[in-house]
Amino acid sequence: MQTLVPQPDPPTGVRIGPVQAEPYRWPYDGSVPVARTALLCIDWQTDFCGPGGYVDAMGYDIALTRAGLPATAKLLDHVRSLGMLVVHTREGHDPDLSDLPANKRWRSAQIGAEIGGPGPCGRILIKGEPGWEIVPEVAPAPGEVIVDKPGKGAFYATNLDLVLRTRGITHLILTGITTDVCVHTTMREANDRGYECLILSDCTGATDPGNHAAALHMVTMQGGVFGCVATSDDVIAATTTS
């Protein structure tokens, strides 16, 4: 359970938007105060993108899941200087596995990475283990919210919606891994809940580059069915003080 830490008031007059994005200039309502915007950093965990994590140990090329780290770190510096709310998520389960659906456990065992089993950085996807921690490049700063989630989506069975609504957040900028799994599931959940979403192509990544590209393309169809796609530089360039 996370506690809400009081945040300093953001500087007044700072807004984001319009951002040069696809398929429209984001957000739909022109621009948004920083105070109503949150940056989501999804599942930047050692087991998924750290050297020696289990994705690395399974022989995948972690350069693909690490590709978005430098741009995300730079963007974090920028939004922290603006006082924007930053929310980190971690996928993981309780040590007794009481929040692990049976089919998720079975499937993870089928691919040789059983959740709760011994991995290269502690028990795989178990809260408190080294492999479950967020990598140092984008580590949470004191006071930033961390949401622990048992699924791919960051809204199901978590306090994320409550945290965002309590802060008056209406717009979300999404970074993290992997593009087609946890980031997309979270973006879909957020979109249904009415949040105006922007996913950043250079701050995401997937174990399959084809799925990364397809997931971004899907966002842009039909007038932006889930929101928009842009880069971190587009966001930084669209920061204005009025």
Binding site: P23, Y24, P27, Y28, D29, P101, A102, N103, K104, R107, S108, Q110, I111, P150, G151, K152, G153, Y156, A157, D180, V181, H184, T185, R188, E189, N191, D192, R193, G194, Y195, E196, T207, D208, G210, N211, A214, A215, H217, M218, M221, Q222, G223, G224, V225, F226, G227
Partner: protein, 232 residues
């Protein structure tokens, strides 16, 4: 007494118990599927979706014959748009917005002709119809409650469109612990590329969101299971 059935599926055989399985038919609505509807007005080729109608009709017949639970969904909003988020209503400057008058009634508004399900797949009395305001069928609906109270564990998923409402619903179901089998010939996308990659993403990484098979394989397994002698 439960009778388990197994379907040859990707990435591995899918096992289900018909007594705890429900068929989900997602958003087979006139506005998305019929010529002259909202979907076509936006420039989409509705034939890409219509190919799912006949196999889904046959599937419904087979499921009804053995008494499988069947649940339909419709995407739509209240006439006063009070359940439509501003971001959904206003984004992208479309030629027609939700609530505007369309060729088959107000676009995506509950109760309008275009919002209802196509005649071929019309729900029978007693089959629940879930009205959903979003892409996912779990958020802000009674679906989760309905499945829990019915003891459902496995979902057979069909409908449109593959990468939007079908995918969002399967992702929601998967996080909730339901075992999902998506029937590739009973789902459809306006974009062939998304049909292909959407199905591939479901079965990737050992079946990260679920399983994929064709409807004849599922119907065969269902009928074999129903033909077995039932214990008292």
């Amino acid at each position: 007494m439960s009778t388990h059935a197994t379907v040859d599926a990707m990435p591995s055989p899918y096992t289900f118990d018909p007594a705890t399985t429900a068929l989900l038919v997602i958003d087979m609505q006139r506005d998305f599927l019929e010529p002259g509807g909202f979907g076509e007005t936006l420039g989409n080729d509705v034939n890409q979706l219509r190919s799912a109608i006949a196999p889904t009709e046959a599937l419904l017949g087979a499921c009804r014959a053995v008494g499988l639970t069947i649940i339909h969904t419709r995407e739509g909003h209240l006439p006063d748009l009070s359940d439509c988020p501003p971001a959904k209503l206003h984004r992208g400057a479309p030629s027609m917005r939700i609530g505007d008058p369309g060729p088959k009634g107000r676009i995506l508004i509950r109760g309008e002709y275009g919002h209802d399900i196509v005649d071929e797949l019309a729900p029978l009395p007693g089959e629940p119809v879930i009205d959903k305001p979003g892409k996912g069928a779990f958020y802000a609906t009674e679906l989760g409650q309905l499945l829990e109270s019915g003891g459902v564990r496995s979902l057979i998923v069909t409908g449109v469109t593959t990468e939007v409402c079908v995918h969002t619903t399967v992702r929601e179901a998967n996080d909730r612990g339901y075992e999902c089998l998506v029937l590739s010939d009973c789902v459809g996308s306006y974009f062939p590329e998304f049909q292909r990659v959407g199905l591939q993403m479901i079965a990737a990484q050992g079946g990260i969101f679920g399983w994929v098979a064709k409807s004849p394989a599922f119907i065969g397994a269902l009928q074999r299971s129903a033909a077995l002698p039932q214990a008292a």
